[in-house]
């Protein structure tokens, strides 16, 4: 069986299982046959294409499946020359192309089939999924996530202006394991500077909302904190996909979050309006296909005097 499950896996894997759709990982186009095709011919198709199951289609509708097991039985009992329609299994369990991969996994757990035909909304056969498809798609996606991270680390030059403190944190898409770390660090830095509780809270909330936006909605990006004597400027930038309608995104309650983001406790559509609410200055720029940069300023309620701060 596939050693992935949604309950106790690291969150990045859980996320992939929900984000990837069956149509992203299925094999297509799929080799099908009609009910009049002889089993012998299907056996040849299987051997030549190295597949273990062939869906049977009649008038664009999926009507059955022939698996290697069916072929073996046909050879054994001597009906390999007869049309497959008579012998195919009609008890079909299918996946839909829009289902998340997690659903595919639970199908493999639940039903002991080696493959599932995939249909679209119009009930047409569009592909086929084996457990091998799932495993290789996950490996590819995990590799891609790692490569993105490495590229980001290497591209960091981080010039620091004299007299100011600058901190940069890389934030990865859907990385719930590390989501919020940058903001937690920011809060610690503000505590060390001895700024008021209200300032700490406003800056942390703004930072956290922006950081979670990168995690939930973007392809990844970074958080940059620029401290000066009386303020911190927080810049959250991502590499896309960009926001098509900024006015809408600034409306309370508007959210493009899907159900699993909501199940993690986010996506109520309060992020940007709330960030603006707690900030002294707020600006946002977004280009579809390029990315979004949000820059906010939090002015310290009481100017920090780190030198005089009691130990």
């Amino acid at each position: 069986m596939i050693p992935f499950e949604t309950q106790n896996s690291p969150s990045i894997i859980t996320e992939l299982l929900y984000r990837l759709k069956i149509k992203d990982i299925m094999t297509h186009p799929v080799r099908s046959a009609d009910p009049t095709t002889r089993l012998r011919e299907i056996q040849t198709t299987m051997r030549e294409n190295k597949v273990s199951g062939v869906p049977i289609v009649e008038d664009d509708r999926l009507v059955g499946m022939i698996s290697v097991d069916d072929i073996i039985r046909a050879l054994d009992q001597g009906y390999i020359e007869s049309p497959c329609g008579v012998h195919m299994s009609r008890k079909l369990v299918v996946l839909e192309d829009d289902m998340p991969v997690s659903m595919g996994l639970s199908h493999f757990e639940k039903y002991h089939f080696g493959r599932f035909p995939v249909i679209n909304r119009d009930k047409e056969l569009v592909g086929i999924v084996t457990s091998r498809d799932i495993t290789s798609a996950l490996l590819t996606e995990m590799n891609r996530a790692l490569e993105t991270l490495e590229a980001e680390i290497n591209s960091q030059a981080a010039p620091v202006a004299a007299g100011e403190v600058k901190r940069v944190f890389v934030v990865r898409q859907f990385d719930y394991e590390n989501a919020g770390r940058a903001s937690t660090e920011l809060k610690k830095l503000l505590q060390e500077r001895g700024v008021s509780r209200k300032t700490q809270r406003n800056a942390s909330v703004a930072s956290y909302e922006l950081e979670m936006n990168i995690v939930n909605h973007s392809l990844g990006g970074r958080m940059i904190y620029q401290f000066s004597a009386d303020r911190v400027v927080i810049e959250a930038s991502d590499r896309g996909p960009g926001i098509p309608d900024l006015a809408k995104a600034m409306t309370e309650g508007f959210s493009t979050a899907n159900d699993w983001i909501r199940s993690l406790g986010f996506g109520a559509g309060m992020g940007l309006p709330n960030t603006k609410r707690v900030s002294d200055d707020f600006s946002i720029e977004s280009t579809v296909g390029k990315g979004t940069t949000v820059k906010v300023t939090i002015v310290f309620e009481t100017a920090p005097t780190p030198q005089e701060k009691p130990a």
Binding site: G253, A268, M270
Partner: protein, 121 residues
């Protein structure tokens, strides 16, 4: 208590017309899967999940009324769905904690039995 008490006694704003009925209990949750699995029948659901799917889940569980907390706008498709399912919908500025406490008061729930606490340090 009945559905109308939410409006009459707590001042919650009713967003769709409804048929009054006796409420047997209440359930507070933001997670729809939890609502389907655990919300009791003939109850009021207190949630800040102002989403069309909330109506579907609530009516699957046999919930009679929704109390929506939180600041987000209540979408029109939620209200349409509620009319179809004959589900009462109320909105309040109270947060979930306060709304739950007040509704417990309406249901006549006092200080209940306190289960034994454990320390696990």
């Amino acid at each position: 208590m009945t559905i109308a008490d939410l409006e009459a006694r707590l001042g919650y704003a009713s967003l769709v017309a409804y048929t009054d009925a006796e409420l047997a209990g209440a359930y507070t949750s933001d997670l729809l899967s939890d609502v389907i699995a655990h919300a009791p029948e003939n109850s009021v659901l207190i949630t800040l999940q102002a989403h069309k799917n909330t109506v579907a889940c609530a009516s699957l569980a046999g919930v009679l009324a929704l109390v929506l907390t939180g600041k987000a706008e209540v979408p029109a498709d939620l209200l349409d769905a509620a009319r179809q399912e004959n589900l009462a919908v109320f909105r309040t500025a109270d947060n979930q904690f306060t709304a739950s406490w007040k509704i417990a008061g309406l249901l006549g729930l006092g200080l209940g039995p306190i289960p034994g606490s454990k320390e696990n340090l």
